[in-house]
Amino acid sequence: MKKILVVDDEENIRMFYKEELEDEGLEVHLAGSGEEALEMIGKNSFDLVSLDIRLPGIDGIETMRRIKENWTDIPVILCSAYHHYKQEFGSWASEAYVVKSSDLKELKDTINKVLNPV
């Protein structure tokens, strides 16, 4: 089973994502901040990280930078409420940029694509 880390500061979002993604057959771990995420990545080996951009403390982009710096091969999906960065994400190092929505369809599809490249 693939292990993924979902990072978001909202508890409700974390809970919801966990339940939905577990239904997809993934092992889901949660972190509420960039610092917590980095700590957990250090201790576990994740197959994918889903990162919210707006986080307390160090923000999503900085967190991603550090992940990429220290663990080069972990794919990172930026998952955010902001949609107007979507066009620009290409200049960042994330694998994908997903806009949060209540049906998580885009997120699930993207996770699928990233974890199971054809």
């Binding site: 909202e10 409700n12 979002i13 919801f16 949060k100 209540s102």
Partner: protein, 648 residues
């Protein structure tokens, strides 16, 4: 005998009002000497003497005027000493060609001077005059002269005082209004009313530099002789003073429907023409036209349009600039306008000119201020719009997250419910029966519902924050007791306080702390500040609320303090704390304090924050104290303007 007479006279007059003394002296003298006694005063501009006081036989038949040249009084003045005439052969009347000497056999003329300037002549005439001690009479004449000089001075002073007091009263009246129309009305009325200078008609023309003309603005006066008579009659009977005429309600002068006003408003002269009004403006001086036909200036328009051949034009000046002119005439009583009157009018116009300029400047200032305020409002609006634009990013987060949660949980609810065969109460997935379905899944379902409810509330509060920030809001200001507002807010938060385990300390003033405020907004202010404090004290703490009155900077203030033990704010964050979208919290729009700050400003109050590093934060809110009855009385006095404001 002479000395006794003098003593007697001095004794009699010493206790008398000075204006009575000349007559008393004449009376005593006349009775003592059985003579006719007269006092003639010298008038420089008429070059002659006028009979001022008289006593004794036939004194009222004495000539009322003597020329300086060729008359006996004149001669004694020119000689500088007394002259005595005694009948010898011819009767005195024919000898000196003086009707005043008819049937008299002896006459004595004593000149009176004030520092070498002739003031008058004392004249004593008799038939069988008892022997007059010339020296006695000369002494008395000196005494009399002194009295007459003092009287003349007094009268001059009195006239001056009346003039000044009149001008002073009018100026006070003028100061009660900045309304130009009312101003002009007061001015022109002052000049026409009985107590004032009493001219028949007064008209004001103002210089309009932009249009290069002088324009008629207002005309006060009766439209015909009949109306004029009625007004004077009314005045005499009712003694309507100047102020009764002036103090009408509010700032609107009564409608001036007179024909004169209409005529004046329709008159205008080009400043390039040579009409007399324009000359007055250009030469900055007054003109007294006794007869327009004889005048070398162009008075045609005035005569034709206003119907007066005799009138005066006085410029209204201020600091060298001519604002306009006042034209006055006595069309109905045909009284000639004197040089003295022109002098008084000129002084008055100088004052009025300054007052009008003040009014014009004030109005200009008011307009500029209004324009600035409007600009400011628009700028603030624009800034808010820009801020709102920036808000879009934050809103995305604040709204989308709850939506995602709500949508997500609703979806999950749906999925769970699909699994339950509601009719049979059988959970398809787990295969458990009705009761057990309830037991297992009720918890999960309830949790979803609770979370959804929570997110919806969050959304509502976000919406409120946005609306409060963007709307102008018309607050409704009433008298409020700050303590009551604080109490109410604390009641609302009571549950919350207990739940989080906060220790509440209330140090509210025992006095009533009245302020002018909008109850709803004030509630919001305290709700927000206290909520902030509570959020900073998640793990418990002490919330202290204080209220008190304070006298500072010459004003009474009502102060409230909200103090928490939440650890304080980073000094860096402190300066941004009231900026919109700034927040140190995980969530929230960052608008709460910005809105609160705005609301306090709307109440003309002050909101400050004291940072007690590592301890907590104290928010200090200051409002102007509302004095109640005292304040209301001040408002009324200024707004109604029933009496001139006392500028002492």
């Amino acid at each position: 005998m002479g000395q006794r007479l003098v003593d007697r006279i001095i004794e009699l007059t010493s206790s008398e009002d000075i204006k009575q003394r000349p007559l008393t002296i004449l009376k005593t003298l006349s009775e003592d000497l059985s003579a006719q006694c007269l006092i003639y005063t010298f008038k420089q501009d008429k070059n002659g003497f006028f009979l001022e006081y008289g006593y004794g036989t036939r004194w009222d038949t004495a000539p009322s005027f003597y020329h300086l040249e060729g008359s006996l009084p004149g001669r004694c003045i020119l000689a500088g000493k007394e002259i005595e005439v005694v009948r010898k052969n011819k009767d005195l009347e024919s000898k000196f060609n003086d009707k005043g000497l008819k049937d008299f056999t002896r006459a004595l003329y004593i000149p009176m001077f004030n520092n070498d300037k002739p003031t008058g002549v004392l004249c004593i005439k008799g038939r069988d005059i008892k022997h007059i001690l010339k020296r006695t009479v000369i002494v008395l004449a000196e005494y009399l002269s002194g009295i007459l000089n003092t009287i003349a001075l007094l009268e001059e002073r009195e006239e001056h005082i009346m003039e000044l007091s009149f001008l002073h009263e009018v100026n006070k009246a003028l100061m009660t209004t900045m309304n130009l129309d009312k101003f002009i009305y007061i001015m022109l009325t002052a000049v026409t009313v009985g107590d004032g200078m009493g001219f028949n008609r007064a008209m004001l023309f103002i210089v309009n530099e932009k249009a290069d003309i002088i324009q008629g603005m207002m005309g006060i006066g009766p439209d015909n002789a009949e109306e004029a008579g009625r007004i004077w009659y009314d005045y005499i009977i009712n003694k309507e003073g100047l102020f009764d005429l002036i103090f009408f309600e509010e700032d609107n002068p009564p409608q001036i429907n007179s024909k004169l006003n209409k005529i004046v408003k329709g008159i205008h002269f080009s400043l390039n023409e040579d009409s007399i009004l324009v000359c007055a403006v250009k030469e900055k001086r007054a003109f007294n036209v006794l007869n327009a036909d004889d005048s070398s200036y162009d008075c045609k328009e005035i005569v034709d349009r206003l119907g007066s051949k005799a009138f005066a034009v006085v410029p209204l000046t201020t600091l060298g600039k001519v604002l306009g002119v006042i034209v006055i005439d006595n069309l109905y009583n045909m009284k000639p306008i004197t040089g003295d009157e022109i002098k008084v009018l000129t002084t008055f116009c100088k004052q009025a000119g300054i007052a009008i300029e003040n009014s014009l400047l004030y109005n200009e200032l008011k307009e500029t201020l209004m324009a600035l305020k409007e600009l400011q409002t628009r700028r603030v609006q624009k800034e808010k719009l820009v801020a709102l634009g920036e808000m879009a990013a934050t809103l995305a987060h604040e709204i989308r997250n709850p939506l995602v949660s709500i949508g997500g949980f609703v979806r999950r609810l749906g999925k769970e419910l699909e699994q339950i065969d509601l009719r049979n109460g059988f959970h398809l997935k787990t295969g458990k029966g009705h009761l057990e379905v309830g037991a297992i899944h009720e918890g999960a379902l309830q949790e979803y519902l609770d979370r959804i409810k929570g997110e919806v509330l969050k959304l509502e509060s976000v919406l409120n924050d946005v609306l409060n920030f963007s709307k102008e809001g018309q607050p409704c200001f009433r008298t409020e007791d700050l303590n009551l507002i604080i109490q109410k807010t604390l009641e609302t938060l009571e549950e919350e306080l207990n739940r989080v385990g906060i220790n509440l300390v209330k140090e509210l003033s025992s006095d009533r702390l009245f302020i002018k405020g909008d109850e709803h907004m004030l509630n919001h202010v305290f709700l927000n500040l206290i909520s902030n404090s509570l959020q900073a004290m998640e793990g418990g703490g002490t919330l202290t609320i204080r209220s008190f009155s304070l006298f500072q900077d010459g004003r009474e203030w009502v102060v409230a303090e909200v103090e928490d033990t939440g650890g304080g704010i980073e000094p860096d964050a402190l300066k941004n704390i009231f900026n919109p979208f700034f927040t140190t919290k995980d969530h929230g729009t960052g608008l709460g304090l910005a809105v609160t700050h705005d609301m306090v400003i709307n109440h003309q109050g002050l909101l400050e924050v004291k940072n007690n590093i590592n301890k907590g934060v104290t928010f200090v809110i200051k409002f102007h104290a509302y004095k109640g009855a005292a304040d209301m009385k001040d408002d009324m006095t200024i707004n109604k303007g029933r009496r001139a404001i006392d500028y002492t």
